[in-house]
């Protein structure tokens, strides 16, 4: 397509991810969010792609890219892994942080779950520390409405200092508002002024000590965030900073001195490395709490009586296991008996074709070894595999997706956690086992 490496952004490669733009003018938008907030649904809705949306964490471990366009602008959407935080506690968080920070996207959309917005704001606030071109997309608004949660989006937007839009990702129309806002943010028509989380005095003093030095040395990274991260260092970030800014950045004696002084002062205030980590996280959590106070109102308890009753039935001692076994048995039965008919039809058709092929080979006068290899070997095995494997898969996976969409799978994981832990596994793995056993049947 005639794009050179530099025109598609060598920076993106620095975060071990190659962004493939279709045109040079394409803007890169990162799609971030907690796990299970419908991020993949938003991604699919925007790009028309059909990435599998799943209900277990860490599904999008590698990045997916897709394209979409508005009247004004064409975009490359990058679906980054779902995470609760950007502090790089796991592989997913590291990928997410690296992309938002070092991938230098033109904008970041943070997808949030309207039914537990407060918890989602933790990630939003962390993203705001890194980037100012952020749009908050409050998804699952229909769910929130059903649970009688009222959200004052404009008040939240004011408190956060960035645009906040609401979506119901399953209804594609509701994504228009998000795209309009993105147009405005990317073109500069709207200039977000993200609210900064204010840390306890001692931490702020330490930040103030090194921030001017950091700002003097780089303008491509948010200096306040970088200063905070230098105070609370983690090796994976140091590695990325060296890659992005060059080894000399952290080695500069000026910065090293200031950093050491700031750390000594923190220690004098009784804040060691571990205490600092705790302090940072709890400041973020209480900041999120403050933002939601008065702007998110639940008329009923969020986790309402009906949900509780259903959950009780699905997970109680008396009914939890029987219901689970029944449901799984039903799915197995539907799959096995249901697959028989299409299996027979398929094998009938495919093996009839084999006879034709044999006739054809003989008519050509092909040597017997060639016929044996291609028809009795390759074709026959293929026909067998397809007629035996395809129908059960085509039945099992949609059924399984149905259970997944209903939210039953996390309950299975919950029910089975103890038995599985005995075998040094965890409840989540029961799902994998289910899939394997159906394939092996």
């Amino acid at each position: 397509m005639g794009l050179t490496n530099s025109s598609i952004g060598i920076r993106a490669a620095a975060s071990e991810l190659e962004i493939k733009k279709q045109a040079v003018e394409d803007k890169v938008v990162a799609l971030a969010g907690n796990p299970n907030v419908g991020k993949s649904t938003v991604f699919n809705g925007l790009t028309g792609m059909n990435q599998h949306t799943g209900n277990w964490p860490g599904k999008t471990v590698t990045n997916a890219q897709g394209y979409c366009a508005t009247k004004q602008q064409s975009y490359v959407m990058v679906d980054i892994p779902g995470t609760y935080s950007l502090m790089a506690h796991s592989a997913e968080e590291e990928v997410a942080r690296n992309f938002i920070c070092f991938g230098q996207p033109d904008a970041v959309v943070v997808v949030c779950d309207a039914t537990c917005l407060e918890r989602n704001l933790n990630l939003v606030l962390q993203t705001l520390e890194i980037s100012s071109r952020v749009v908050v997309c409050v998804n699952l608004m229909d769910e929130a409405k059903r649970k009688n949660i009222k959200i004052d989006l404009s008040a939240i937007a004011k408190r956060l200092g960035v645009p906040v839009v609401s979506t119901v990702a399953r209804e594609k129309k509701s994504l228009d508002g998000l795209m309009n806002t993105l147009d405005n943010v990317v073109s500069g028509a709207v200039m977000p002024t993200p609210a900064q989380v204010v840390y306890p005095d001692a931490v702020e003093r330490a930040i103030a000590k090194i921030e001017p030095l950091v700002r003097k040395k780089t303008d491509s990274l948010a200096s306040r965030w970088l200063s905070l991260k230098l105070l609370d260092p983690d090796p994976s970030l140091t590695l990325e900073i060296n890659k992005f800014l060059g080894e000399d950045f952290l080695r500069s004696p000026e910065l090293a001195d200031a950093l050491a002084a700031a750390k000594t002062e923190l220690l004098a205030d009784g804040i060691g490395p571990d205490a600092l980590k705790d302090l940072i996280v709890s400041t973020l959590v209480s900041a999120a709490e403050k933002i939601c106070r008065g702007t998110v109102v639940c008329e009923k308890a969020q986790y309402d009586a009906f949900d509780r009753r259903v959950d009780h039935i699905l997970t109680s001692k008396a009914t939890g296991y029987p219901i689970m076994l029944l449901l799984l048995a039903l799915i197995f039965w539907l799959t096995i008996t249901g697959a028989n008919y299409p299996s027979q039809m398929l094998s009938g058709a495919l093996f009839a074709l084999q006879d034709r092929l044999t006739l054809l080979f003989h008519a050509w006068g092909a040597p017997e070894w060639l016929h044996g290899m291609l028809v009795l070997g390759v074709y026959r095995v293929l026909a067998w595999v397809i007629s035996v494997m395809l129908p059960p898969m085509a039945i099992f996976f949609p059924l399984f997706t149905l259970l997944e969409d209903a939210g039953y799978l996390p309950r299975v994981a919950y029910n089975l956690d103890r038995p599985f832990k005995r075998c040094c596994a965890c409840g989540k793995q029961s799902l994998t086992m289910c899939m394997v056993s159906i394939i092996l049947h």
Binding site: Y84, S85, M87, H89, T115, C116, E118, R119, N122, K277, D278, V281, S282, V285, S286, A288, C298, Q302, Y303, R308, D311, H312, T315, S316, K317, G320, Y321, Y414, N415, D417, R418, P419, K421
Partner: protein, 78 residues
């Protein structure tokens, strides 16, 4: 001393206020990330058929925590 209770002492239907976390390492960070900081209210909403893990309502989300991890979450009841 009432502050010697841990999250395992909370039965379904009961509420408690988180006081301190004794957990360390990645579990500590996970618990902080889900919002278990000082003075956070949690409610036990159920236990799984085998009794472990239990489910807790934390800041609007229901989260399952194993009893071995509950041991390190110190709480105050009421």
């Amino acid at each position: 001393m009432s502050n010697l209770l841990c999250l395992n002492d909370v039965v379904p239907g009961q509420r408690a206020i988180v006081k301190t976390l004794r957990s360390t390492g990645s579990m500590r960070r996970r618990l902080l990330d889900i919002g278990l900081i000082e003075n956070t209210e949690v409610e036990c909403v159920g236990r799984s058929p085998s009794g472990d893990p239990k489910a807790f309502l934390i800041r609007g989300a229901v989260i399952a925590i194993r009893s071995e991890d509950c041991q390190d979450i110190m709480i105050k009841v009421g």
